[in-house]
């Protein structure tokens, strides 16, 4: 790690140091929030953190590797349903269900990714869109996934004998997950793999020309995104205690993608900001009543109009 850090160009090292302070300030705010907020604010903040994790995961696929994925909610569903089925139907411990979910997401990622990642952007988008719908429809029709009503009575996780019950417990759980995800993203962004993704995103042929195996680079990005979404899904299932296919629609995939694009593809603070906005905007506008979707849409359009590269874009673009 230290070797990696010192090998950074001076400019980047400076950026890193400059973003450290605001980052720590934001973290401090996030840590003390439950002291001041009521259950509703915490519920919304937890949703925002869930979207931070999901958007960061999708950012690896879309932002770093440049693969347009329209079915990302499928991996979220794989995680949620794996935890749901294992804990509610087979009495597994919640924590044991996480590695199983990660493996399941990896397998799903390979099944869908290996044959399709040879495709270029538009075709890949169509295949992933189909994949997202397939997963949702399978979940809706199998008995083991509870059919259309979904699963109820999902086990609440325990940490050293302490059971996560209240919304603030889940808030902290999601905060830890979000921090872990940010850490993972920061590390891979500056790794050999991250640079390979960056080249693939710019020019696949040139990347292949300098010796990058473009299919395996893309597959790695796809699987890493899948694993992050599945872990988010595990925690989501535990928090909701009841999951149904309605949570994993095409709209959900779009919303996650919206967070990535809105914030600024490929840039971690941008994506975090975008994710928070996607979760917050509908809640802030609750007072607008039935005009809520309209006002949300206008606000989003305005952002895209004035900040076409996202609110906090990647300067390398």
């Amino acid at each position: 790690m230290s070797e990696e850090a010192t090998s950074l160009p001076a400019g980047q090292r400076q950026t890193l140091r400059r973003s450290l302070l605001p980052g720590l300030a934001a973290l401090a705010c996030a840590l003390v929030l439950p002291q001041f907020a009521n259950a509703y604010v915490l519920e919304v903040a937890t949703t925002a953190l869930l979207y931070v994790v999901l958007c960061l995961g999708l950012n690896i696929v879309v932002g770093y590797a440049g693969l347009l994925d329209l079915g990302y909610a499928a991996f979220f569903a794989v995680g949620a349903y794996t935890t749901g089925i294992l804990t509610a139907e087979f009495g597994f411990n919640f924590w044991l269900s996480i590695p199983v979910s990660m493996v399941a997401a990896c397998v799903a990622g390979i099944i869908i990714g290996a044959p399709t990642l040879r495709l270029r952007s538009d075709y890949l988008a169509i295949v992933t869109l189909g994949f997202g719908e397939i997963v949702r429809i399978i979940a809706r029709n199998l008995d083991i996934t509870g059919g259309a009503s979904g699963l109820v009575g999902i086990e609440r996780p325990e940490v050293f004998g302490f059971k996560l019950m209240q919304v603030q417990h889940f808030y902290y759980a999601f905060l830890v997950l979000a921090l872990l995800t940010i850490f993972v993203c920061l590390s891979v962004e500056r790794s050999r793999m991250g640079r390979a993704w960056f080249y693939v995103r710019y020019d696949e042929d040139a990347a292949a020309g300098i010796g990058i195996n473009r299919v395996s680079a893309k597959l790695q990005a796809y699987m890493m995104g899948a694993v992050i979404a599945s872990v988010a899904g595990c925690l989501y299932a535990a928090k909701m205690t009841a999951i149904s296919p309605e949570s994993f629609t095409f709209n959900q995939s779009l919303l996650i993608l919206l967070g990535v694009v809105l914030g600024g593809m490929g840039r971690i603070p941008g994506v975090v900001l975008g994710a928070i906005l996607v979760a917050l905007l509908p809640e802030v506008l609750r007072g607008a009543g039935t005009y809520r979707p309209l006002v949300t849409a206008v606000a989003l359009l305005a952002i895209m109009l004035f900040r076409p590269n996202g609110l906090w874009p990647d300067k390398r673009v």
Binding site: N38, L285, A288, V295
Partner: protein, 369 residues
């Protein structure tokens, strides 16, 4: 440019804040949770209006136990995630009780929130049987559950002499529950299920389903989902020359069904919750509703109004705004409203089914003989 954008953003955010804080500072707050946006916004609006009417009437008589009642509406958009935030918003605002809930999938994850907070919750529309199992004792189903509707459906099929039925749902919790239960009940009663199909919400073209229904030789189609899809399916079935009967689940009970289906809707049966038009004592309510909101009262208006009255009645009998006392009072309810009798079983479901078949005649729903 950037400055003007910032101003716009601030203005929008402020407008939102001002509107949220407008909820009045009365003594007792009742939360209404319903789909105010999205495909089912029309039903949600009806629920809100009708509950408010009941509360306003109670306030005009001096409120309950000397306190005025205010309502707070929270939009769940029939989405599980939004329902959870809407629900916890109501709980955080300190509501005494909550009424509403249309989509079972969205109501299910909220039961825990209301249960943990001990808030009395009367569910108006949602009626999946899974709600009964997930109930922590504070929730009450004011609508008949799906199995009760299945019984009414099978009775109608037998009366009309249908022998082979095609059952079609939209794949969500509510409609597939109803489809499954009805198919089982009809098979047990000696009937045959000719086809069992699932469509996608928001679909426009039902030709694949229509073809399957026609080739299956079904005497009748039973559509268990909502009016938007039901109206299109009816139209396309009739356009394709399907002559058999069409029976609709209670999710189709909306004036919009007849508007969209037009002449194709003629002769279609509907398993209706007590609709305003068909209730003898509801003419006065109907006129008042139209005068107050400038639109006809929809399917769940009468039941929503009853639930509004029921919660006021329960608070009066509890003689306090104590939530445990209200839950106990609700359990002991013996209430006669516009839509019929509300008495709860020990599982907090209705004792008697409130479904009854109606038929479309001359662009209107009338009671089926």
């Amino acid at each position: 440019m950037v400055a003007s954008f910032k101003r716009l953003a601030c203005a929008t955010a402020l407008a939102g804040l001002v509107m949220t804080t407008m909820a009045n500072a009365a003594d007792i707050k009742i939360g209404i949770v319903a789909p105010m946006t999205g495909q089912l916004a029309s039903e949600g609006q009806d629920m809100e209006n009708a509950v408010k009417m009941a509360i306003d009437a109670a306030n005009a008589k001096g409120g309950v136990n000397g306190d005025k009642i205010a309502t707070i509406t929270a939009d769940d958009a029939c989405d599980p995630q939004q329902a959870v935030t809407a629900g916890s918003k109501l709980v955080s605002e300190g509501v005494t009780a909550i009424v509403g809930g249309y989509c079972s999938g969205a109501v299910l994850p909220t039961l825990k929130i209301y249960g943990d907070a001990g808030v009395p919750f009367v569910i108006i529309g949602a009626n999946s049987t899974k709600l009964v199992a997930a109930n922590q004792g504070n929730a009450f189903l004011a609508n008949s559950t799906g199995d009760m509707q299945a019984t009414t459906a099978v009775e109608l099929f037998k009366k009309n002499g249908y022998k082979k039925i095609a059952v079609i749902d939209e794949g969500d919790a509510y409609s597939s529950d109803l489809a499954k239960l009805t198919a089982e009940a009809f098979k047990n009663a000696g009937g045959e299920i000719a086809a069992r199909e699932t469509t996608t919400a928001g679909e426009q073209d039902y030709s694949a389903v229509v073809t399957k229904v026609k080739s299956s030789g079904a005497d009748a189609v039973f559509w268990t989902a909502y009016h938007a899809g039901g109206a299109l399916l009816t139209k396309q079935l009739r356009q394709a020359g399907f002559q058999g009967g069409i029976v609709l689940g209670d999710g189709n009970n909306s004036p919009e069904y007849l508007e969209i289906a037009g002449s194709a809707g003629e002769g279609v049966y509907l398993l209706s919750p007590p609709t305003v038009d068909l209730l003898s004592g509801a003419a006065d309510f109907k006129a008042k509703y139209k005068a107050a909101y400038g639109r006809d009262a929809g399917a769940y208006a009468a039941l929503s109004h009853d639930v509004g009255d029921l919660i006021v009645d329960a608070m009066a009998r509890a003689k306090s705004a104590d939530q445990k006392a209200i839950v106990a009072a609700l359990k002991a309810s013996d209430f006669k409203g516009l839509a019929g009798e509300i008495k709860f079983t020990d599982k907090n479901t209705l004792q008697t089914s409130n479904f009854h078949p109606v038929v479309a005649k001359g662009g209107k729903w009338v009671a089926a003989e």
